[in-house]
Symmetry: C2
Subunit: 322 residues, 2 copies
């Protein structure tokens, strides 16, 4: 993130100020919940992607900062709804908004952030950007429903799983990059390259996130370890393990996945199998594949500090769990 | 509704076909939940308002039908989220979507319909209409949060209450009418008149809806009687009663409002007081006030069958509970 911060650090500070402004509402609870979630330690990867993509595309106008704020609003709205759907009690190591203010407030403040995002995008005045972002949020909702339907599905294939994370996570990073490209009005090929860059980056990002559920500790990563597994989410480390393990081991995994509550022993049993069969290493390798492909999309652009910053941002994604 | 149907009946049929088309998704559950909610007996008041407003504004193009479909999508998304927030088990006499598919699916399919609405609006290509509708959905979310905060608030004033229903209900009807006006490119004054018409109509609509919670039977109105009260929603019939009743009667109401579950006897006690103090009659009178003002906004338009249809649609709103 260092190279990125050196270039867009000032813009990112303005993005933070923009949040406060855009969260204005006559309803104090909206500001309260919104500020809580927005200020609880996100790394602003999506705004950074938008700002850097816009720079790479040669854009120097004043629309990148408000759009970068909008992208984080959309992301925050999905987090609020995700935590309701997943019954999450923690988010980045802090109590989740639904724990503090109830599911009702989380659903409705999420709706506010979603709607406000579109109001703000309309203010930017580009139908092309509106198209990219509204299509992205539609795909995200589809991805979330797909994920819900895949809950506890032990036969989930790697292909379908990648499709789920492309929809629920990667598409917004892709849209962030594409919006930056549209601001810069680069030719179609370069616009697509930036969209593809964001997509592959997003897939790798989610793969690394899925690994954290097996290897992180709560203090280190601010996310309740084993939570995906407890919720019956089948992610790549487990998909790989299920392909390799014996029938009796599969039965062990199945029993844990089907339980509503999971003990530490249950978690250890499954994570032990995941490590034994190389589920973590396999997923790291997959993430590296996507990150390498992600970087190659930038070959269309001449070398520059901004391109370097995007490359090192993508490197950061696959190293952050180590 | 008869006069309206005579004029826009064919368009409304096309709107129904448009729903099917717009619900297309690779995720079958989205279509399933979406079709269930969309086909469970809504009266299409919002699409009708948009279609008639567009006609009154002289619009004859092909964008009114897709936009009318979008307005109902937005409305359906809010219903899905409302029922989660209110823990509703019934919607128009049928099992609510959250009862059938769980809160998770309702939250996410609602998000899909919201996002898809914006994608479809972008397709229509008018930034002005996008502005009106995205501002409206932002206000709706604010209104829903305000309502949540007013739960069990016995000191809620009539003024604040009207403000809540303006935000959570009336603004979308206003936006439907304004979008129709924008399609017809009428002068600013007429555009505002149509927006005001929708706003006053929407306030009266919600007032009549609030009455149903006290006087309807489940079979007649397809809505669980007493549900607002059980949820601690303070509506105008109760606000009026609280202003008039004795301290000991207020204590009775307070106890019922604060309970999580309400017996039929509890409901009868409160609805008895509401009738005794004229809460229903007061609310009907208020609805009539808004409907009369609503009609007056159309004075700016010359008499025509379309104007008559809008006037009789507004009449229908205040008579539907009788």
């Amino acid at each position: 993130m260092q190279a990125a911060l050196a270039i867009i650090g000032e813009d990112l500070k303005q993005v933070e100020q923009q949040f406060r402004k855009d969260l204005q509402s006559d309803v104090p609870l909206i500001r309260k919940v919104g500020e809580y979630v927005l200020s609880s330690g996100g790394k602003r990867v999506r705004p950074a992607l938008l700002l850097l993509a816009a720079r790479l595309a040669g854009y120097t106008g004043d629309k990148a900062v408000p759009l970068a704020s909008v992208i984080e609003f959309v992301h925050t709205a999905t987090l609020l709804h995700d935590d309701v759907v997943d019954s999450a009690t923690l988010r980045r190591g802090l109590a989740s908004a639904n724990t503090l203010w109830g599911n009702e407030a989380s659903v409705l403040v999420g709706d506010f952030l979603f709607s406000k995002s579109f109001s703000l995008m309309v203010g930017v005045g580009s139908l092309d950007i509106l198209r990219v972002l509204s299509d992205a949020t539609t795909v995200i909702a589809e991805g979330e429903v797909m994920q819900l339907l895949c809950t506890g599905e032990l036969d989930l294939t790697e292909e379908r799983y990648i499709n789920v994370i492309r929809s629920k996570t990667a598409i917004l990073m892709s849209a962030a990059c594409e919006a930056g490209a549209i601001l810069g009005a680069v030719p179609q090929k370069q616009q697509e390259a930036l969209a593809d860059f964001g997509m592959d980056l997003g897939i790798a990002f989610q793969l690394m996130d899925d690994i954290l559920d097996y290897v992180a500790t709560e203090e280190e990563f601010g996310k309740s370890i084993g939570h995906d597994l407890e919720e019956g989410k089948i992610t790549l480390p487990l998909i790989h393990t299920l392909k390799k393990c014996s029938d009796s081991e599969r039965a062990v995994i199945s029993a844990v996945v089907e339980q509503d509550e999971m003990s530490l022993d249950d978690f250890r049993a499954v994570s032990g199998l995941v490590k034994e069969y190389g589920g973590i290493a396999y997923t790291v390798a997959a993430a590296n594949f996507y990150i390498n492909r992600c970087k190659s999309h930038l070959d269309l652009f001449p070398s520059s500090p901004v391109r370097e910053a995007l490359l090192s941002l993508s490197e950061y994604v696959v190293t952050r769990s180590k």
